[in-house]
Structure formats: C-alpha cells, structure tokens
C-alpha cells in the first residue's frame, strides 16, 4: 500500500496538525518508506491468532473511593499560556 498526498492531508487534519505543503511532501515519502516496511505484516495471514493490545493481561483495576489531596487550582493553571479567573482561556467554540 502507498499513501497519496491527499491522504497525508486528510490524516494530518484528523491528527490536528497544521503542516506546510513542503512538510507534507516530506512526510509522504517517509510514510511510504515505513509502509514498505509494513508490507510483510500486511501480507501475512494470522488466522486464529488472538491480537494482544498489552503484554500483561490485566483485569479492571479498582481502587477504594477515598478522597485524596487534589491539585490546587493555581497549580493546575500555572502552566497555561492563557488563563483568567481560575479558568483556561480558549478561542470561542460555540457562538451565541
């Protein structure tokens, strides 16, 4: 399989990455090199083998519902590029 420039554009949009045309062309050739590496896996038939998303098979891990010390609001906001009145500030998402 190989990836077209149009597909790179689409995937970059899905991944929320604003890229220049030049970057997209560079990415396209690198992605195609990687897809070449993947061709063997793509062609194999693993019928009957169960896929594994994790090395350790864990069941749901439960914890007692004990209130802990929360991160204080000022500490949570201290790293934001823009905050006001104890809130993160972002561009308007819903117009009225």
């Amino acid at each position: 399989m190989s990836i077209s420039l149009e597909e790179v554009r689409h995937v970059a949009k899905l991944a929320r990455l604003e890229l220049s045309e030049q970057e997209m062309v560079a990415l396209q050739s690198e992605l195609n090199a990687l897809l070449g590496l993947f061709s063997e896996i793509e062609s194999l038939d693993f019928d009957g083998v169960e896929g594994q998303s994790h090395a350790v098979s864990l069941q749901n891990v439960w914890a007692e519902d004990i209130p802990g010390e929360p991160l204080d609001r000022a500490a949570a906001l201290q790293n934001s590029a823009l905050s006001r009145a104890g809130l993160f500030v972002v561009p308007t998402i819903i117009e009225d």
């Binding site: 604003e18 896996i41 090395a55 561009p91």
Partner: protein
C-alpha cells in the same frame, strides 16, 4: 575522588559517615561544569539546588533516618515529571512547563535519600534512536564526541558514562534505555512491564513504556531499581508485587542456560560487533554457562510491528498537547486552528511523522490491515519468547547491531535507524525484563550484550547479568578530558 566510586560504594561511604552528600554533589557538579555543555547531556542543571537537596539529606541522616540511596545524585531523563523543575521532553511544545507534581519514581528516589541531579536530554518525546531529534540539540557520545550516544535516553547514558552522574533514570519503549547504554558502555535495565510505576512519565506507548535505571555496574542498577520499583496505586498497569530485590551474592554462571538466536543478530550486524559478541559468548561458556541456539522466527516482524503499535499509541497519547493547559500556544482564527497550529509549529519532524503514521494505521479502512495484524504479530512474538524462556534463564544477543555511529550518519535513512531496534523491541512487545551490559570494545567503541528474561524474573536476570559482568572484560571509562 567520589566520581571514581560506584553508586553502591558512594552510598556505603555516605551511610557510614566517611563521605558527606554535599561532597558527592560538589564533585559531580564540577564534572558537569567541565563537560556538561560539550556533551549536551543536560537540559536543566542547577548545582545550587542539588547542593541544597544534599544538605537536607545530611539533616535526615543526622536525625537517624535510614536511607538506601543516601546522598546519591541521580540524573533524570527529561520526560519524567519533577515537581518545580522544568520537564520538556526535549520538545518546544513543552518549553517552560514546570510539573506541579513528582513522578512516583522521583518521589521514591527522594524518599530513599537520592538527590535529583539535573534533567537529561533525549530524543523529542523519546522518539528516536540517536538523540538527534531533541529540539535543544543532540547529545555527544563521551567515547567520541563526533558520534551519537544512541537514543532515546542518550543524555542519561552520556552523563553516566562520562562520570557526570553515578546513576540516571531512562525510559524504554523499544530499547531507549538499553541501546544508548550499549553505545555509551554502561548498564541499562528495563524492568518487566508493570514493575516500575509509569505515573508521571510523559506517555509515549503506554503498553510498552517502562522506566529503568542506567548506571556503571549491574550492582548499581539493581540498587536504584530496588528503590524505584514496586506496586503503585497511581498506575493502573502497575503489578501488585514488591520491588525488584536482586540477590547478587551468588555471582556464578555455572549451570545457567542461555539461548542465542540468529534472528536476533540480524542482517545488519556489524562485523566488529559480531566478533565482540562471539568472544563474549566464549567467556560466558568458559564460566560454566550452557549456551544453545534457538529459533525465533517472528523476530523478523518485530520492527514493523513496533512501528505500527508504538506510533498508534503515541498518536493518542500526544493528543493532550493542544496548547491549552501547558506549553506555548500558536493562536489561530478558532479553537481547532489554534490547536492544529500549536501542534504543527511546536512538534518536531519525527514526532509529527509518528503521529501521522499512528493516526493512519488506526483510521477507518487501515485498522484491520495494519493495527489489528500487528497486535496478532505481537501475540506470536510473545509466545515464541515465552516458550524459549521456559527452558532458558535468559536470551542473549547484541543490544544493538552497531557501535556508536557518527552524528548525522543515519539522518538520511530513517528506516535504517529504526532497524537498529531489532534486538531491543521484543522485550517491550512481550513485557519481558532485559538488561544491557558492556561486553567489550570494537574499534575503540563500546559493545553491549543484552540479556532478556521472563516476565517478573527481574531478580534472577540481574543475578545472571551480574555474574556475566564479572566474567567479561571491563571497558573502563571513556577518554574524556
């Protein structure tokens, strides 16, 4: 000189009162002052802060506290959260970020009396094998400043090898502790998945990531491992089990069954590395180890499986970097544009490549062809290794098929650089424990020997590695002045 002593010796001397933590910190800070910039090993270093921490350790010792890492300076890879100390992941998207909390491993180091000794350089978000993807410049290998220390924990590896710190923490998703440890001639240990808390490690591939120690000897690595491992309720994938307490007193290879495999030496094996590896096997055999060849056919799928699964996980994990809660922001006309512009401008090329490939293999129409199949290949790989580990104490291989390469040498061929992870990736895929130890020099550069053990058999693996280390020739310190 404190810098000539191993971490174990330093701690012993501090505990017995022969050496003060502040003396240790001063001696190492002097080394950082002399070589730190030239090596590019640190992204943040504050000698005064380290000294202040050392003094607090002195007070705790004077108050009679028993501290297993008393006064030990430990450098921390800069993708591990440190309260009040910048944590950048070597990325512009986290420039200026100061975590309001400590990672569990850092909290445990502090509790054990260690001194947080600077934050070390890495490939951006730990994505790379040469340390050249760092947004803040590459790290140089102390054995040859024109060469790469390997990656992604290259800063930690270079700092320990150059005696800028007696020990360091790294993180390992596909070999990022072991590969640079091999290229810099030190010991790097990746615990079994789940034995070391990932709380506070900036996530890359959550099903693969593990934090682990990097040090000059197996004993030193085991000392740090014992302090940082063990169950942590803050990490849902942490195994309910105590810390890794290795018993290194046995020290013999007699009767140890070691497997080696053609598939793990690969086609790319450098002839000088092959020779050093074969000589190392001879030494281990002479010490009483029983060696046998095994076949691990699925290893040929390891690199491609990894470069499907790890980027898929990364594309999801790195979605949190949106310029809202941390890091700088590049404003756009609306929210979505602001997020996309921030990410597009502040992530480096390698990170963007991996996010795009990860998003692609997870997207409709390609999920079955790539992601689902890679998960099946992961099952096969794990099964094959488990069958061998049922009959053997460890699987041995070179850690990397090459010695340290020149900076810039691999940048023209990103796929060739990825192929260097062949020997290290299987341990992450299967959740196994693995350690790299120096096994000799080839053309003046260190060669690493990897020992890979069954899940939860970390203690036994370190015992075997310790015995192997004693039998193998010492490579000494890099010629740095």
């Amino acid at each position: 000189m404190p810098v000539d002593r191993t971490a174990t010796e330093l701690v012993r001397d501090v505990q017995s009162g022969r050496l003060a933590p502040s003396e240790v910190v001063r001696a190492y800070a002097e080394r950082v002052d002399r070589f730190g910039e030239r090596l590019g090993a640190f992204l943040w270093f504050d000698a005064e802060a380290a000294l202040a921490e050392a003094r607090r350790v002195e007070e705790r010792l004077a108050a009679g506290e028993s501290l297993p890492l008393a006064g030990l300076p430990v450098a921390i890879k800069d993708n591990i959260s440190t309260r009040g100390i910048p944590t950048t992941c070597a990325s512009k998207i986290l420039e200026g970020y100061v975590p309001p909390f400590d990672a569990t491993v850092v909290e445990r180091l502090r509790r054990a009396g260690a001194v947080v000794f600077g934050k070390t350089n890495l490939d951006e978000f730990a994505m790379g094998g040469s340390n050249e993807t760092s947004a803040f410049g590459p790290v140089r290998n102390p054995w040859d400043l024109e060469r790469s220390p390997g990656g992604s924990s290259g800063g930690s590896a270079a700092a320990v090898a150059a005696r800028l710190a007696p020990a360091a923490l790294g993180s390992d998703t596909g070999g990022s502790i072991r590969m640079p440890a091999a290229l810099c001639g030190i010991v790097g240990f990746k615990p079994t998945y789940g034995r070391c808390s990932r709380f506070g490690l900036v996530a890359f591939g959550s099903s693969l990531d593990q934090i682990g120690p990097m040090a000059r000897t197996v004993e030193d690595a085991a000392l740090v491992a014992e302090a940082i491992t063990g169950h942590d309720p803050k990490d849902g994938t942490s195994v309910a089990c105590g810390p890794v307490r290795a018993d290194l007193s046995e020290g013999t290879l007699k009767g140890k069954r070691l497997a080696y495999s053609k598939e793990l030496t690969g086609d790319a094996l450098h002839p000088a590395v092959a020779r050093t590896f074969e000589q190392a096997l001879e030494v281990l055999r002479a010490e009483g180890a029983e060696l046998a060849e095994v076949s691990l056919p699925s290893v040929r799928l390891a690199v491609s499986t990894y470069y499907i699964l790890a980027p898929a996980e990364a594309s999801s994990n790195l979605a949190r970097f949106d310029g809202v809660r941390f890091g700088p922001r590049a404003e756009g006309p609306g929210h979505v544009e602001t997020v996309a512009r921030t990410r597009g401008r502040l992530f480096g090329h390698e990170v963007k490549t991996r996010i795009v490939i990860g998003t692609y293999v997870l997207s409709a129409g390609y999920y079955e062809a790539y992601y689902a199949k890679a998960q099946q290949a992961r099952t096969l790989l794990r099964r094959e290794f488990l069958e061998v580990l049922d009959r053997f104490d460890a699987i041995v291989s070179p850690t990397a098929p090459v010695t340290a390469f020149r900076l810039g040498e691999m940048s023209a061929d990103p796929v060739a650089l990825k192929m260097l992870d062949l020997c290290t990736i299987p341990a992450n895929m299967g959740g196994f424990c693995a350690v790299s130890i120096p096994c000799g020099l080839a053309e003046g550069l260190p060669v690493g020997l990897q020992l890979l053990g069954a899940p939860m058999r970390d203690e036994a693996l370190l015992g075997t590695a310790h015995a192997a280390e004693r039998a193998l020739p010492s490579i000494g310190a890099p010629p740095l002045n």
